[in-house]
């Protein structure tokens, strides 16, 4: 019965395909690397052109380690820049986890089909010009499990999440829509509770829910209650906010301790038998953003660190602006409870979702003013400068560990934590 006794050997089709692509990339890369683009792209000390030249001459001497490593890094960069393609035949949970698979799905399927200049920046909100007014428009769906958790429920999450996406464009959130998908058998009392939280959250954020939709699906076809909200807001400043605006020397600020929401949800599922005194940080950020933008704070970009956590935002900054990002583990605020649970579960809080925290990229010279503005707001008291934007290496986020070493912080691949928002 044991493996291998019948001596059958199978070859894996998808592996063959991946290898074929690899061959194309490598051979294509070598040609360009030897001529122009390799050196151009790497921009590093060891020029790709020179290194590729070594390879082509088929030098019998092994290349020095650093040169070979540079070659490999460049090869990886090429692969990372290749046109995204969804290789899976079916959607897996990874496609919803906010990491690499989500990004590939968005770029290869959605952006490819809908491509237009308003969508292309892939910011939290689209910015439109309507009758002379600048409008921010966004939408988000909420499928969190469990529906009720310490610090909030799917209702206030659905309002705050959309309010925050508008706020990140620097917009004053005004109106929301709400669409409900309800499972047959869902308790009306629970629905009333959810809707009451939505009303309270809308009031707190100063928005109105002005239109909606309801669908009911058969038992087993949904998990209780899903909510979609869309929102519009008015942009009254003339700043051009966006992660692509980041430039070397800028400071990176988070508005408070990270990872509270994600850890709360994991523990609330009760599957882990861990108890900790931690609650979701779900909250509207519009007030804090308004006070941040009202002064000379040099803000270049704002993002709320939801799915994929702060690490994902930092990678978006590095990629969109073609810059490096260097953050210091010692400076990143994490509650002891969140850190403890993360240690136990082998999770990095940098990847854990927040629902009421923003990451700001600000002009390095004005970082202290921006920090003071955030700290003046009750929800930003624990704001901290966590790092800076660097010129090199482009597209890469690095972390100075508390231990004193350095490592890369890449996008998350796959996510063991389903449905956190």
């Amino acid at each position: 019965m044991s493996t291998g006794q019948d001596g059958r050997t199978h070859s894996a089709g998808w592996v063959a395909e991946a290898l074929r692509e690899h061959e194309e990339q490598v051979s294509g890369g070598q040609v360009s690397g030897g001529q122009v683009s390799g050196g151009q792209v790497s921009g590093g000390q060891v020029s790709g052109g020179q290194a590729a030249g070594h390879v082509r001459r088929g030098s019998p001497q092994p290349l020095p380690g650093t040169v070979r490593e540079e070659l490999v890094l460049e090869r990886i960069d090429r692969a990372r820049r290749a046109r995204p393609r969804v290789k899976e035949e079916r959607i897996t949970m990874s496609h919803g986890a906010g990491g690499k698979a989500t990004q590939t799905l968005i770029e290869a399927i959605f952006l490819d089909a809908f491509r237009n200049p308003l969508l292309e920046p892939l910011e939290d909100s689209a910015q439109l010009l309507l009758g002379g007014s600048r409008i921010a428009l966004t939408t988000d769906s909420y499928v969190v499990k469990p529906l009720f958790f310490p610090g909030g429920d799917i209702g206030d999450l659905a309002v705050n999440g959309t309010v925050n996406d508008l706020s990140m464009a620097g917009a004053q959130p005004l109106y929301l829509s709400s669409g409900f998908i309800l499972e047959e058998g869902f308790p009306v009392a629970d629905l009333s509770r959810i809707v009451a939280s939505m009303r309270a959250a809308a009031q707190a954020a100063g928005v109105q829910i002005v239109t909606g939709d309801t669908k009911v699906v058969e038992k087993g076809k949904a998990d209780g209650c899903y909510i979609n909200t869309a929102g519009v807001g008015l942009i009254e400043h003339d700043l051009n906010l966006g992660v692509a605006q980041a430039r070397p020397g800028d400071a990176i600020i988070v508005s408070g301790p990270i990872g509270d929401h994600g850890i709360t949800i994991m523990l609330a599922r009760g599957e882990l038998d861990i108890e900790a005194d931690v609650t979701s940080d779900t909250a509207p950020l519009c007030g804090m953003v308004a006070s941040l933008l009202s002064g000379p704070t040099g803000v270049r970009a704002l993002r709320d660190a939801t799915r994929g956590g702060v690490a994902t935002i930092l990678n978006e900054i590095a990629t969109a602006a073609g810059v490096g990002v260097l953050v210091s583990e010692d400076d990143i605020p994490v509650r002891a409870e969140v850190r403890g649970a993360s240690e136990l579960l082998g999770i990095d809080p940098m990847y854990v979702a927040c629902e009421g925290r923003l990451v700001a990229v600000v002009d390095g010279a004005k970082a202290d003013v921006a920090l003071a503005a955030l700290r003046a707001h009750p929800r930003g008291e624990q704001a901290a400068i966590i790092g800076q934007v660097t010129a090199t290496p482009p597209g890469i986020v690095q972390l100075k560990t508390a231990f004193g070493g350095t490592r890369i912080v890449d996008l998350l691949v796959g996510d063991p934590l389903p449905r956190i928002c």
Partner: protein, 375 residues
């Protein structure tokens, strides 16, 4: 945070690093293998290599449980999961390991009932809750996880649970280390011994490494200072021309191991004559199967397991990486065809795998890193 920060003190690390550098003989290169994937993960996660002099190279060993599972075994598990009324349960790490027709995640997306569990006891819970289903636990890991599988089998037997079984892929660390030591294309100076495995098997099983092969072994803990101290202890031995087994992780690892755990393993499992390891090939007496006495919990007997063999893709050099002959980035497909999103080799799957750790955390040369820190 107590019990964590003490083991990550940068000041102490600097002091240790200086002592380690002092012990390096001029002109000599040192290759030390950390056997365990948990160590690999710590080394990269904390950027520990930044503390080491250029003369010391860390070689990442075979001790990552999912990295050594051959593709055919994944296919077998998927065939088993596709049997009627089966619920397959597995650790999260295993979910992304590629077989020849995708991973557990892909199978799950196709409708196969595969669930992630944190402990084999969770599988038992699922079995109790689903009496009309047949629940299989995909057991993987070294002696670290084998005791929990053993305890679960014992519990299931005690409860008389008829719908629970184990697809046993447990492997043992010593034959793998021996295979590496016997491999002709290798030059290692010493071993950072696996900490968690040693909590179960103790330190004695490594004595042959020091005695017969003349290589020092230091069993190490998983915090960065643990590893740095172990490297220091290895360097002390090497500079004094010694080779002995030492226990750095004495706060957790008893010299004689955990007798209760070993007994539970012995009671429920026995050695297979041979087992295939990813990249290393067949190694005799290197894996465990369920004992005949507990045959009713052995999925290999209860179900038709195809026993598929899948040749490792030729371009994949997991074997060389596992043996420490190649650095991850020296593999031909590293970072292009084989990435954490689409891993071809198992070393790229688990965060403990040498390739994944290197890709995610460490793919910059030390020069580049320091340049960025200065800029």
């Amino acid at each position: 945070m107590r019990f964590v920060d003490e083991f990550r003190d940068a000041g102490k690390a600097h002091a240790l690093a200086a002592k380690i550098a002092d012990l390096c003989e001029p002109g000599r290169q040192y290759k030390l293998m950390e056997v365990c994937g948990g160590h690999t993960h710590t080394i990269y996660k904390h950027g520990l290599e930044d503390y080491l002099p250029e003369q010391i190279t860390l070689v990442h060993g075979p001790g990552c449980p999912v990295c050594v599972i051959p593709m055919g075994r994944v296919d077998d598990a998927m065939a088993l999961a596709a049997e009627p009324d089966v619920i397959m349960t597995s650790f999260g790490d295993m979910m992304r390991v590629p077989g020849s027709n995708g991973s557990f995640f892909d199978a799950k997306a196709r409708g196969t009932d595969i669930r992630m569990v944190y402990s084999p006891l969770d599988s038992l819970k699922i079995a109790r809750q689903n009496p009309d289903k047949r629940v299989v636990f995909m057991a993987i890991g070294f002696e670290t996880t084998a005791p929990s599988t053993a305890m679960t089998v014992l519990r299931a037997a005690k409860e008389g649970l008829a719908n629970f079984s184990v697809f046993c892929n447990h492997v043992t660390i010593i034959p793998a280390i021996k295979a590496i030591l016997d491999s002709p294309d290798l030059r290692l100076d010493g071993f950072i011994g696996p900490g968690h495995v040693s909590t179960v098997i103790g330190c004695r099983p490594y004595e042959f490494i020091a005695r017969d092969y003349g290589k020092p072994v230091v069993v190490a803990g998983f915090e960065p200072l643990d590893i740095l101290q172990s490297i220091y202890m290895l360097m002390l031995q090497l500079s004094g021309g010694q080779s002995a087994v030492q226990n750095q992780y004495s706060r957790v690892v008893p010299w004689d191991g955990n007798v209760v755990a070993l007994k539970a393993i012995g009671q429920t499992m026995e050695l297979r004559p041979y087992f295939e390891w990813r990249g290393l090939g067949f190694i005799s007496h290197s894996a465990l199967k369920v004992r005949e006495q507990y045959a009713s919990f052995d999925a290999e007997l209860l179900f038709k397991v195809p026993g598929v063999r899948v040749a490792d893709p030729k371009a994949c050099q997991c074997g060389e990486v596992l043996k420490g002959v190649l650095k991850p980035w020296e593999c031909k497909v590293f970072g292009t065809a084989c990435t954490p999103e689409t891993p071809i080799g198992t070393c790229m799957v688990s965060p403990e795998g040498a390739c994944a750790a290197y890709y995610n955390y460490g793919r910059l040369t030390r020069t580049r890193v320091s340049e960025a820190s200065r800029s």
